[in-house]
Symmetry: C2
Subunit: 83 residues, 2 copies
């Protein structure tokens, strides 16, 4: 079976996020007054061949730990979607 995996990698809460701050300031400058606590991370999508959704998730988790996320500064979330 093939699965579509959506990964969201975000700067860990409490850590400085200069890109998020830059976006927050830019939004304010454009007149979007109601926005705050902006955080910017990475969204990664991939196709994964696996026997079950659980296996796909576990494989994607290993990919995050090895490559996709920085374990010191980032947190990640996974969603697995059957194709």
């Amino acid at each position: 079976m093939s699965y579509r995996v959506h990964v969201r990698v975000m700067p860990r809460t409490g850590l400085l996020d200069p890109q998020g701050q830059a976006v927050e300031h830019a939004l304010a400058a454009l007149g979007f007054a109601g926005a705050g606590d902006v955080r910017v991370g990475r969204a990664i999508e991939l196709e994964l061949a696996a026997d079950s959704p659980a296996e796909a998730e576990s494989e994607a988790r290993r990919m995050c730990e090895r490559l996709l996320a920085n374990p010191v500064t980032e947190d990640f979330e996974l969603e697995v979607e059957a194709r």
Copy 2:
């Protein structure tokens, strides 16, 4: 009311995604054989003050059109979460 908005900005399907290709090659080099069609985009989260989820979504959509996404090369998806 305050809402947490999750935005996913991805390179448009069919457009070249060099960052996604680099990740795909790196995953293969690390021994993750089952991964393909890797796409890398941005995940943006923000707090938004609005009167309803629909208003929050509409405001976030305007933010994407004005600043967060490139309308020529990127697509975006929104999720609004009540706090």
